[in-house]
């Protein structure tokens, strides 16, 4: 997993710009992604949206790592939930559990 292949060596240029004090050769960056949500916790199952919902965790799927199938969904009201949790919820009540607005999907996590 080393990034040697992306390391573009500019060693040849080093001699010309002698006024510089440092040359930045490479940057190994680390970033963390999370769903862009107002609240980290799904209000329906009260599990962090970054984790699979309670039902998906219960399934203990052997080889999928539980993540891909359990994405986040945003409503027009901008409230977000596990997609699994919301799909079960709307079968009984087509309103957002947090603001009671009519539920309609604004976007899905990918």
């Amino acid at each position: 997993m080393s990034g040697e292949d992306c390391d573009v060596d500019r060693g040849d240029n080093d001699g010309q710009k002698s006024d510089k004090m440092f040359t930045l050769k490479k940057w190994n960056a680390v970033a963390m992604w999370s769903w862009d949500v107002e609240c980290d916790t799904c209000a329906i199952c009260r599990v962090q949206v970054m984790d699979a919902c309670l039902r998906c965790q219960g399934e203990s799927k052997k080889d999928s790592y539980g993540k891909q199938d359990c994405v986040v969904v945003w409503g027009e009201c901008n409230h977000s939930f596990h997609f699994c949790c919301m799909s079960l919820w709307v079968k009984q009540n087509n309103r957002c559990p947090l603001c009671q607005q009519e539920w309609s999907i604004q976007r899905m996590g990918k």
Binding site: C6, F22, N28, V30, V47
Partner: protein, 786 residues
């Protein structure tokens, strides 16, 4: 030729002739074939006689004759010697066996001579087997009573028993028992042995036709009296062994005695008696001395386990002790041995752990000690106790106690999870070439120890932190090895246990792909980051990195690749937010102002700080801090290593950046780039101290915050229990409280031992969240809400 037609028969005359032949047959005298045939017909003629069949009369007369004959034999057998002295060499047994051989053979012939009577007359009225077994008590108890007719051969045997054996019973028993006792120490000559064996087996043969209790006579006359005499002998034998020697001496000879006894029984007694002989011996010679045996178990185990000169001898002793105690296991005879085996292993294990060792090698010492303990006792118990389940269990219990170190301080957390995780970390880090196989074997050993760790979830936390470090800083020796270790843990503990480890591992794989796509994206759009760039994108929640993401205003050199990547990432995914973990990023700088070129590897904030000196040689520390927006303790943590390495110099009111300045206004001093920097090595690697543990940002190497993992686990345990409860209830729909608790405990056992109180809390939480409800009309039953 024999006529088949019924006719008048003169009983007196026919019987007189028949009787003469019967006497000849029973006395084993030669009978001519013609005479035999005639008498055979006579039996038939009497049975079918007209007008009145004479079979009953024939039967009665035959019985009278046999009784008289056996009475005569009794006199012959009894002889003149006194019966009471029980001298087995007085000839009684020989005379008895001689008479028995002749008579039993004769009666067998007689039975064929009376074939017709047996078949046509007796069989018809013979009580069926079923009736004998299940019928009325009267029939069942007296199959040989006179009122019922028997086949003539059987009749002969019954008469022998009643007329000859009964009066001689105690004389026979006395002689048989005394002969057997003597045979134990002085094997008899073949003839005497033969006489003894036949005498014994005659008591079996005489009742062999009986359906019920065919061995009753044998048991009464031979087996029981023999065993009761033997028992006294064995008791004395064992007592003398214990009196004259130590326990080793006793066990060795008692086992030899058992073999002798079984062999003796096999030679003379009925085959069915082996178990009775063995049980009698074990009762008298072993069971009676259990306290003496049990008293030595601790010493024998101890001496078998040290490396002293007696260890071999003691292993043989233990093998014998196990052989002696095992048959008495159902009476609990093995329990003290099992308990001592457990105590010995536990004692030894604690001693191994307490042995002196280098402080920084505590993890190696811990795992090696546990493997030594496990290996030593698996081998020992396999060898001396046949690997019996009870002893494997005792070893497991001992290992588990030692590993988790409960004894030391009640309530204190065991160090096992941390030490074991450290051990794995050391093995999985990059190292000298050629050690791959060795590391693999050691990792397999770590799994052996892992299985004994109680708080597996605490281990998981430590392991996850170390794994995060290895993955982020690319310190792993091999990704195959990383993956295979995660799979080993999964095999030992299940999917939930390794779920997050798998997710971390997947992130690294996905990142490699992402970098390739990003570089392609740059090429296709004629863009450049102007510097080497590699990124790892981690998913929040899976990595034990906490939230300490120090805000930073990165310099232009870093700003550009960051913005390019963010744009690329936003276009590739949707609904995601990206945060830079600057304290985990590293930059590689090359110095241009020094006589030698130095390669400096440093965190992003450190790189940013150095890059500030592109335009100035020195600047006020406070100004630098503000321009980088490095807040709070992040400033001294990043600056200190630069000062220590000599790249920067602090002046003015000196160490304004010292971590202990405790000054909210920030540093007051001035930082200057050391233009005369020099170092022996051309590669300079700068690290930064960990953020305090409660901030959770300790991904950057070095020791992690200890003790934190334990409390951190509580939330995860609740999460785990709730998922398990949902899984169980989804499958079972309706379940009683106690059953539900049991199921959850058994599912969680793989990673920790949950308290009932915690499970109850989780059930309440699920009822709140409307996953479960109390089943209507019940107090202790839950049902699942889909």
């Amino acid at each position: 030729m024999m006529s088949l037609k019924p006719r008048n028969v003169d009983f007196q005359e026919t019987w007189a002739n028949l009787k003469e032949t019967v006497a000849g047959v029973v006395g084993l005298r030669a009978v001519e074939r013609a005479v035999w045939n005639t008498r055979f017909s006579d039996v038939y003629a009497l049975c079918v006689a007209h007008p009145e069949p004479l079979a009953d009369r024939l039967y009665d007369e035959t019985r009278n004759f046999l009784e008289e004959h056996v009475s005569g034999l009794l006199q012959r057998v009894r002889g003149t010697a006194p019966l009471e002295n029980n001298d087995h060499n007085d000839g009684l047994l020989t005379r008895y066996v001689t008479a028995w051989r002749e008579y039993s053979q004769g009666v067998a012939y007689l039975n064929s001579l009376y074939s017709y009577l047996n078949l046509q007359h007796i069989k018809r009225q013979k009580v069926s087997d079923a009736e004998i077994i299940y019928g009325s008590a009267a029939t069942a108890c007296s199959p040989d009573q006179d009122s019922r007719q028997l086949e003539v051969g059987e009749l002969g045997l019954v008469i022998w028993e009643r007329v000859l054996i009964t009066p001689l019973a105690s004389a026979l028993t006395g002689r048989i028992v005394s002969a057997l006792s003597e045979a134990r120490s002085h094997p008899p000559d073949p003839t005497s042995a033969d006489i003894l064996r036949q005498a014994i087996h005659s008591t079996v043969d005489v009742q062999a036709f009986r359906v019920r209790a065919p061995l009753a006579l044998y048991q009464q006359l031979v087996l029981e009296p023999y065993l009761s005499a033997a028992s006294g002998h064995h008791a004395q034998f064992a007592a003398e062994l214990l009196h004259h020697g130590d326990i080793s001496h006793y066990m060795k000879h008692v086992l030899e005695g058992l073999e002798r006894e079984i062999a003796l029984g096999g030679r003379f007694l009925h085959a069915s008696s082996t178990e009775a002989v063995r049980a009698c011996y074990e009762r008298a010679a072993v069971a009676a001395h259990l306290p003496a045996l049990h008293a030595e178990t601790e010493r024998l185990l101890r001496e078998a386990c040290d490396d002293g000169p007696r260890a071999d001898q003691r292993r043989s002793d233990l093998k014998r002790m196990y052989a002696l105690l095992k048959p008495l296991a159902c009476a609990g005879a093995l329990r003290p041995l099992v308990e001592q085996a457990h105590a010995q292993a536990a004692r030894d294990g604690r001693a191994l752990l307490a042995a002196p060792h280098a402080r920084d090698e505590a993890h190696i010492h811990f795992v090696n000690s546990m493997l030594a303990l496990h290996g030593k006792y698996s081998k020992l118990f396999g060898e001396v106790f046949d690997g019996a389940q009870a002893f494997i269990g005792a070893l497991d219990k001992a290992c588990s106690e030692v590993v988790n170190g409960r004894a030391a301080e009640a309530g204190a957390a065991s160090r096992a999870p941390e030490l074991l995780a450290r051990y794995c970390d050391a093995l999985l880090r990059r190292r000298g070439a050629g050690a791959e196989q060795e590391a693999d074997d050691k990792l397999a050993g770590a799994i052996v120890v892992f299985k004994y760790v109680c708080d597996k979830d605490v281990f998981q936390k430590y392991y996850a932190r170390a794994l995060a470090r290895r993955l982020i800083h690319q310190l792993s020796a091999s990704m195959e090895q990383e993956e295979s270790m995660i799979n080993r843990l999964k095999a030992a503990c299940g999917y939930e246990f390794t779920n997050k480890l798998h997710r971390m591992f997947t992130d690294v794989t996905v990142s490699a792909d992402l970098n390739a796509k990003f570089q392609q994206h740059l090429r296709e759009n004629n863009l450049s980051t102007n510097t080497g760039f590699f990124i790892q994108v981690l998913q929040a929640g899976a990595w034990p990195l906490g939230g300490a993401m120090a805000p930073l205003a990165p310099p232009a050199q870093l700003e550009r690749p960051a913005r390019l990547f963010e744009a690329f990432y936003r276009a590739s995914f949707s609904g995601r937010r990206l945060a830079w973990l600057h304290h985990l990023c590293t930059g590689e700088l090359r110095t241009r102002y020094t006589t030698r070129v130095y390669h400096i590897s440093a965190t992003t904030p450190q790189c940013a700080l150095l890059l500030c000196f592109e335009t100035v040689d020195s600047a006020p520390a406070r100004e630098l801090r503000e321009s980088l927006q490095l807040a709070g303790d992040a400033w001294p943590r990043h600056v200190r290593p630069l000062l220590d390495a000599g790249l920067l110099l602090a002046s003015g009111d000196g160490e304004g950046s010292a971590p202990d300045s405790g000054d909210d206004d920030g540093p007051h001093g001035t930082l200057t780039l050391n233009l005369n920097f020099s170092c022996k090595r051309t590669k300079v690697r700068l690290t930064c101290a960990n953020a305090p543990a409660q901030q959770g940002g300790s991904g950057g190497g070095g020791a992690s915050g200890e003790g934190n993992e334990v409390t951190h686990c509580d939330d995860d345990r609740k999460m785990y229990l709730q998922a398990a409860l949902v899984r169980i209830m989804k499958q079972r729909k309706v379940l009683r409280h106690t059953e539900l608790i049991q199921e959850v405990v058994s599912q969680a056992r793989g990673s920790f031992a949950p308290s009932v109180a915690m499970i109850k809390k989780c059930i309440e939480a699920l009822i709140d969240k409307q996953y479960l409800e109390r089943a209507p009309g019940t107090l202790d039953t839950y049902s699942y809400l889909a």
